[in-house]
């Protein structure tokens, strides 16, 4: 059911960046160092910006066109394959195509991806091009970046699980390249490898899941076929559950969930905040997208047949949410806090998706739609907020670097010395930046609030929805209490670590000399920050548009009356007719708004330097924190030295265990195998050779050189012939 229109051009959305990839790479290689290339093209940044802009515009056009109806387009046949029935001998040929499929889910993700990618591009022109360490290799960054965007956009637009996977892998490659951007640094190189391998483990299962799905659905992986309810009803739901479970493992890997989460924090060690941003804000959404895509299976399959998987998804989410939040408590690196926060928030979405899938599979269509909507909305909010937070953190780090250079330059002449041990990313070196970096601080402030779930701001709406959904499932299915409880606890923990981060960075007095010299410089960085700040704040508008009911009511469109929408949404949240849900809401608000931030303020709050003043919308918080901090005298040193904190510092030992497993078992086995291969398998061949050489020596020794021996052998031979002849005759 292909139609013409803007959708015919939708293929250009991923294609443009993909084509830009070689262009930037080669132009960069050609013109590296020339003034025009550096100044005017920003070492490829402008080219990237152009194609991303074009993609964004196209994406917006597509979104506008297909807000209300599903669109598909076939591009070409990818390959044909044939199957043989050994019973009947019939041979059937399956056609597998490439195409575009646009529905509500696509629209949402497409917007997030295109929009964020564009903003990131703007940001990186400010960030990357001003750092001398990147000179002459920025073109590589932009090339990899556009390829990454191409992967993300392609994944969203793909019309089948297979193409989803293909672009998913493309992103994996780019993430590998971007994390390892400073390939000469062992840590970056290591982190890149780790990221690729960890996600690869998930991908393996994803591929197996796809293979199973392919066989279940008779050679189809395209949404049009597999989401057909009749087709779903026709398959064995037990096998379907296993296939989807396999695919879910892939999502776990990509979205950095327990137990395949180890790569994400390391990816932050990759020294570009931009790449970190790409991972945290966009790529990790791929896993969520995949799970969200499974929704029709759950609604179409036999009642309750797939609920185990839904529970598993939610549980993984719940566990990760709390685990990541716990580890985030002790992180000092600004980006790592954000990384763990990302993990934790994604876990929320998984829990939400798990509830939605459970509902869908058990026949609660309305609730499923609500949970699904909440999850996706959280995805949106989180992407915006987290994008902003990363950019802001990048801004902070960037300026810290610059300030450090200035300071170092004043001190001595080693201004190009990168080897000193000043850590520009550590929050221990910051403090009191609220007045020195007003825009950044604001953005960070709003972003943190959104993540924490401060009422009326961005993430609040969706997070409440997720928690509510999880508890509603828990009421029906007791096992679900685990994820439900975990996400509730997690809400309070989020409040703590996000506030901790903000206060450590922006409140209080500067902890180092460097922090005193920080100030905002480039024009390229604030633009996306401001844009995203408004996007985050504006989430309420989306909430009013019933974004929370996105899925179920997609075709009807509930957003006719904006204020009614906001009102009913508020009522739904704060004055729910179901008392249980209402209580739940307030408990959650209490935890995240009061408990968590209060602890953080008590520990890390403090007023700014004298004469420094933050913007008014932040000053109150700083003041409040200073007060709480003074009053409480809360001392956490005992806890900070506990063994729990120790293991939190070591990220709960996951990395160590995995490392040990890989190094000891896999590599050890591999080395043994290599030895076995050369000693025994090849050794057998060599043994044949040496044996025959020995035999040769012995046989030749019989030729003694004495004619008498020869005659004797002749006589013996005669005898042998007699024996043989007589023996037979």
């Amino acid at each position: 059911m292909s139609e013409s229109g803007i959708i015919d051009y939708a293929v250009l959305i991923p294609l443009l960046p993909m084509l830009a990839f070689p262009v930037i790479l080669f132009l960069g290689k050609l013109f590296n160092g020339t003034p025009t290339w550096v100044k005017n093209v920003k070492e490829g940044g402008i080219i990237a910006l152009t194609v991303m802009g074009a993609s964004l515009i196209l994406a917006l056009l597509v979104i506008k066109e297909h807000m209300h109806h599903v669109g598909t387009a076939n591009i070409f046949t990818w390959f044909e394959s044939s199957w043989w029935n050994s019973e009947t001998g019939a041979i059937t040929t399956k056609v597998f195509g490439v195409g575009i499929h646009i529905d509500h889910l696509t629209v949402m993700l497409l917007f997030v991806a295109a929009f964020l990618c564009f903003l990131i591009n703007v940001f990186s022109i400010g960030y990357m091009n001003t750092d001398p360490i990147n000179d002459n290799r920025n073109h590589r960054f932009y090339a990899e970046f556009v390829l990454f965007c191409s992967g993300m956009l392609g994944m969203v637009l793909a019309d089948s699980f297979l193409w989803l996977f293909i672009f998913w892998e493309l992103m994996g490659l780019c993430s590998y390249l971007l994390i390892g951007f400073y390939y000469e640094r062992p840590s970056a190189s290591y982190a890149a490898k780790k990221a690729f391998l960890t996600t690869r483990v998930g991908d393996v299962f994803l591929v197996i899941g796809l293979v199973m799905l392919w066989n279940l659905f008779d050679g189809h992986l395209d949404y049009a076929y597999v989401f057909n309810q009749e087709n779903i009803a026709a398959v064995n739901s037990g096998e379907l559950q296993i296939a989807l479970g396999m695919m879910f493992i892939g999502a776990v890997g990509k979205s950095a969930q327990f137990p395949l989460h180890v790569w994400l924090p390391d990816a932050m060690e990759g020294p570009t905040p931009v790449s970190a941003l790409i991972h945290a804000a966009t790529m990790v959404n791929a896993g969520l997208y995949l799970v969200a895509r499974m929704f029709p299976f759950f609604s179409g399959a036999e009642l309750g047949a797939l609920s185990t998987l839904a529970i598993v998804i939610a549980c993984i989410g719940g566990i990760t949410a709390v685990m990541a939040a716990l580890i985030a408590f002790v992180q000092m690196d600004l980006k790592k806090v954000l990384a763990y926060s990302t993990m934790s928030q994604l876990a929320y979405i998984f829990t939400g998706l798990g509830s939605a899938l459970w509902f869908a599979n058990n026949g609660y269509e309305e609730l499923a739609a609500f949970a699904m909507g909440a999850s996706l909305f959280h995805l949106f909010n989180h992407a915006m907020a987290k994008g902003m937070l990363f950019m802001a953190s990048g801004s902070v780090i960037h300026e810290m670097h610059h300030a450090h250079h200035e300071v170092a330059h004043h001190d001595d002449d080693h201004h190009d010395d990168h080897d000193d041990h000043f850590d520009a990313q550590s929050m221990e070196n910051m403090g009191g930046l609220a007045s020195r970096m007003p825009i950044t601080a604001t953005a960070m402030f709003v972003g943190s609030m959104s993540i924490i779930g401060i009422p009326l701001i961005g993430g609040f709406w969706s997070k409440e929805g997720i928690i509510a959904s999880a508890w509603q499932v828990a009421l029906k299915e007791p096992i679900f209490l685990l994820p439900a409880l975990l996400v509730l606890i997690g809400a309070g923990m989020t409040g703590f670590y996000m506030s901790r981060m903000w206060f450590m960075t922006f409140a209080g007095k500067p902890k180092t000399e460097v922090a005193e010299h920080v100030h905002e410089q480039t024009a390229w960085i604030p633009i996306p920050l401001v844009t995203l700040t408004f996007m985050t704040l504006g989430a309420i508008i989306l909430a009013g548009m019933h974004a929370g009911h996105w899925l179920g009511d997609f075709d009807d469109g509930h957003y006719t009356n904006f204020f009614d929408g906001v009102g009913s949404e508020m009522e739904h949240v704060f004055l729910n007719h179901d008392p249980f849900l209402m209580v739940l809401t307030y408990v959650a608000i209490g935890l995240s708004l009061v408990l968590g931030p209060s602890f953080a303020m008590a520990l890390y709050g403090g007023s700014l330097d004298k004469g420094q003043k933050a913007k008014p919308w932040m000053q109150w918080a700083i003041n409040l924190s200073a007060k709480i901090n003074k009053k409480s005298k809360f001392d956490n040193s005992e806890w900070a030295n506990s063994s729990l904190a120790e293991s939190l510092h070591k990220r709960l030992h996951f990395d160590d265990i995995y490392d040990a497993a890989v190094m000891k078992i896999v590599v050890g086995f591999a080395n043994l195998s290599a030895i076995f291969d050369s000693k025994f398998i090849d050794g057998a061949i060599k043994a044949i050779e040496s044996t025959s050489q020995n035999a040769s020596r012995r046989v030749r020794a019989l030729t003694t050189g004495s004619a008498r021996d020869y005659i004797m052998m002749t006589a013996l031979g005669t005898l042998v012939i007699f024996i043989l002849l007589w023996g037979v005759a």
């Binding site: 020794a701 030729t703 050189g705 004495s706 004619a707 008498r708 021996d709 005659i711």
Partner: protein, 100 residues
Amino acid sequence: MIDPAWVSGLAAVLFIIGLWGAFSRKNAIVVLMCIELMLNAVNLQFVAAASHWGDVTGWVYAVFAIAIAAAEVAIGLAIFLSMYGQHETISLDEVNLLKN
């Protein structure tokens, strides 16, 4: 007249003595003599068989065999001579440069 079987038997004995001598003696000349012994056994055999069959070809064969034996002796002695020229021995055991 002697039964040809006896002659055959003698031939067989001669042959075996010749063969035995050929590999048990070191001296090349003796070995050559042993070979002659073998050939003589052949001659005897032919003659005996010829008389057994009453066939004249057997004698012809014998004559030819004698000629062959004579040629062999001539060539053999010549070769031994050249060996002696080089190795200064006619012991077969001591002539073993070529081996393996």
